[in-house]
């Protein structure tokens, strides 16, 4: 699919603020199933933007506005082409112990120490352990989580833990992904958090532009079969009960949310600010036009 994405963020401050420093992780990545053709970021008040790749390979845009200002606009535009990933490999559980797998997995296998031990986790984990293969476990998880928890914005906040999700019984995609990561890693499957955009058109199609939002899903490292074939990172979206496909536009990944936040900033001044953010995705390829 061929998308044009516009991610517009506007902060308003009741009184002038200074030293507003921000780091953006919003540029679509270029991967084997995705290509970012164009990318612009415009900041108002104008600021010099510096770029670098972070530890996980995500492009980071950084800028700072030292002088007083009462609003900040971040206007990001991108064009990206995606394709469906090949079907996932279905290596067995025993492959998880192979040195090739462990090497490819690296730190994404490590338990997440900051997360509290939650009793309710064990039941979920028990269900997961019955799956016949890592691939089956991943698919199972994509059903298990939305079956168990309600999708309800406003229940949790940006710094919520898994314990918060279990307690509330509801959360958003970020919480679902965090829970999935903990369960998968506990079962020995390497897993990482993915931040990106999702083309969430209704099933019957017929739309070529959508107001969406930044989205989160995960990638699990599935082993190849019979010792042949490299293990492969496979995207899965527990919020939408699907494996990731060409409607998922990846920005980057990390161990968890805090490694790839879309916008992270600090400023001096009044704590209350209002935020308006919108992501608009439009389809540019002929398929959309034909259907419309």
């Amino acid at each position: 699919m061929h998308f044009s994405i516009r991610y517009l963020t506007e902060y308003r401050y009741p009184s002038p603020v200074t030293d507003n420093l921000n780091a953006l992780r919003v540029r679509p990545a270029t991967t084997s199933t995705q290509r970012c053709d164009e990318f612009h970021a415009r900041i108002d008040p104008e600021a010099r933007v510096s770029r670098h790749l972070d530890y996980f390979g995500t492009e980071v845009l950084e800028f700072g506005i030292p002088t007083g200002h009462e609003s900040l606009t971040i206007d990001v535009r991108a064009r990206v082409v995606t394709s469906d990933p090949p079907s996932p490999p279905s290596g067995g559980w025993e492959e998880l112990a192979s040195s090739a797998y462990r090497e490819a997995a690296g730190e994404f296998l490590l338990p997440w120490q900051d997360q509290p031990q939650v009793p309710g986790l064990d039941d979920l984990y028990a269900s997961l352990a019955t799956a016949s293969s890592p691939e089956a476990a991943l698919s199972l998880l994509c059903e298990l989580i939305p079956d168990t928890f309600a999708y309800r914005p406003g229940t949790t906040y940006v710094g919520s833990t898994i314990a918060d999700l279990l307690e509330a019984g509801a959360g958003v995609c970020q919480d679902f992904v965090h829970l999935a990561l903990v369960l998968l890693r506990r079962r020995g499957i390497a897993a990482r958090y993915v931040s990106g955009y999702l083309w969430a058109a209704p099933q019957d199609g017929g739309v070529d532009s959508l107001e969406v939002d930044t989205h989160a899903w995960l990638e699990a490292l599935l082993p190849g079969t019979g010792g042949r074939g490299e293990p492969v990172w496979v995207g899965a979206d527990p919020t939408n009960r699907i494996l990731a496909n060409e409607t998922h536009v990846k920005i980057g990944h990390g161990r968890y949310y805090a490694d790839v936040p879309p916008v992270k900033g600090v400023y001096r001044g009044s704590q209350s600010s209002t935020l308006a953010a919108a992501v608009t995705m439009s389809r540019l390829d002929p398929a959309a036009g034909a259907r419309a």
């Binding site: 958003v172 936040p261 001096r268 001044g269 600010s273």
Partner: protein, 336 residues
Amino acid sequence: MLARIAHELYWLGRNLARAEFTARAVDGVFRAELQSASETGPGVRFGWNGLLAMLGGNAGGGGSEGGGGAPLRREQALERLTLDADRPDSMLACVERSREGARTVRDVISAEMWEAINATTLTLRRDAAASWRLPGGAYQASQYVKQRTALIWGIAERAMLRDEAKRFLDAGGLIEVADMVLRMLRVALPPGDEAHADGNAFALLQAVGGFHAYLRAVTAPPNAQPVARFLLFERAYPDSVAACVDSLHEAFAAADASPADSKPVLRVSRLAADLEFQRRALPDGAELLGICERVQQELARVDQDVADRYFAGAVGDVARSSSLAMSGGRNPLAAA
């Protein structure tokens, strides 16, 4: 130098001077109040309530005991002005604040000066809990603070480098002295319509501390009018408002990178000229309360200019650092 350090030094100076003048005022009122009014009628009104009003801006302190109506008993007032650690305007509180400030800048003010301030605080704390609770104890405490502040300023003169740091310390002390003298004048001087009631002003001189200087410098008897003029305009007396403003100008001019276009330097310079003009222009017996009020307001503006020009970043941060806000990314929401 670091804005934060300059800010600490300036306030160290202010707090030391405030402690010293509170002690002097307590001393003056204590003596005056023990005796009956002089036969010629009092030229100044100076009692415990006046003193509390002058320092705290509120005699009652919000408590049930004062409230502006019922006059305070001497013990209460003394306690509040001297050793009550919970009152921000007490002598002890000023000394404690000096110590806190001095601790952060002890490398700048010299080890001797730090030790002197530290020892003063510790003695005051210890004796406040013990012997100075007795009748007359508060008076002893104020004597002690007078002596120790004189010692501390003496050490500053001898041990500190004459650099920016010393200028800011001095500036804080000077602006506070001028402010305290003006406060006392405004409380003590009879209002305009009683101006002719020119009784003696021993208590005021006693409270400000210029008794002997006055006797040597002025031939007129120590009555309200000449005393007030002396405390306002006599540039040869270091604690007069005019002398403080002169020295303040000197301190800022020396500390500033470009005094020619510096707001605080220019404002202080105008104020000094104005005081000199008033001294010559005002006839004897003219009403002085108005000018006291104006000068005090102008000094408050100087204080603001100083904060803006020299401490801007540091002071702002200290006050606002808790509201340093974090703009997190919003919770990613699924669209399905």
